[in-house]
Amino acid sequence: MKHGLAWLTVGLVTGGVACGGAAVEPASAPASEAAPSSTGTAGAQVQGGPQGVEAAATAGTTHGPAPEIAGARGELDGAERQVAASQGDCAAACRALASMERAADHLCALAAGTECSSARERVDAARQRVQSTCGACAR
């Protein structure tokens, strides 16, 4: 249940972040949040980002961010989306795997022999594939 609530939080937070613009907030660097950004209303607030990015942002002119800053923001946004997509994909793969395992278990309770062993083999293959991409699924 805790996992479910966690995923729910992740999903809704992910949705909120993406709908709200592109707020990137690495948890490991809260100190830099105090540093004002010269583009605070541009929809791309970078908080706690690399020092170089922060410095460049605060040193920017009043005419808008330099192209390299915009490029860096774009890369950050893209990376954030990739991470979110990867997390979502692994969550989806894990829950499908769990359902597949349960179905195979019940199938084997009803039908021994090749029907069961085939289902087991497919589950094993799916589990290995999920593990190789996502690591072990939370139980």
Binding site: M1, H3, G4, L5, A6, W7, L8, T9, V10, G11, L12, V13, T14, G15, G16, A18, C19, R81, Q82, A84, A85, S86, G88, D89, C90, A91, A92, A93, R95, A96, L97, A98, S99, M100, R102, A103, A104, H106, L107, A109, L110, A111, E115, A119, R122, V123, A126, R129, V130, T133, R139
Partner: protein, 205 residues
Amino acid sequence: MTLRRLPFGSLSLVAGALALSGVLVVSQCDRHVSAGPDQADDAAVVDTDLLAFLSLARAHHHEANLDEQTGDVAGAVGALQRIIDAPKPHAGTAIPEVEEVLADTYARMAELRLSQGDADGAKRDVESGLAHATGPTYFRGHLLEVYGIIEEQRTARLADAGSPEEAAKARAHARELLEQAVDIQESVIAHVLDASAGGDGGPSR
């Protein structure tokens, strides 16, 4: 079948469905940005309605969690039923996020009813849920899994009641449903991981 035997990862699954819906809302946001001004306004209203429904669903799932923790299964089913009965955003249009929430809510209700020995009610829930999950998605696979378990239990009851022929039919049906569930979830996993490896960022259900 007891609650213990039914993996209550189902709660995780429901929440996961809602989480996925949250992600899917993102893609809707992206689409809305590219729409014209008027369309964007309309879309914003739709998003608000959708988010309100998802929030309501989340609240009722939490309520069901609390009911379950106190052993009030009927209360949990009632909480989930309020999701089913709630007004749906953009009524008359099948919104994928809403369909998925409904499909998973029906699956959870079916599991709860089954845990109370209400196989007929569980079957009705599964059949209702399947109407909201027609494609080869996780949600359909999960519903078929639950349906297979319902039929597995029916097999045992018929056998105990001295109806071997009916029991054999129920067993065959259960095997068919469970095999379908395995097939679908296997394809879901392949699709999700292929999409992830390809980086197409498409929705993974």
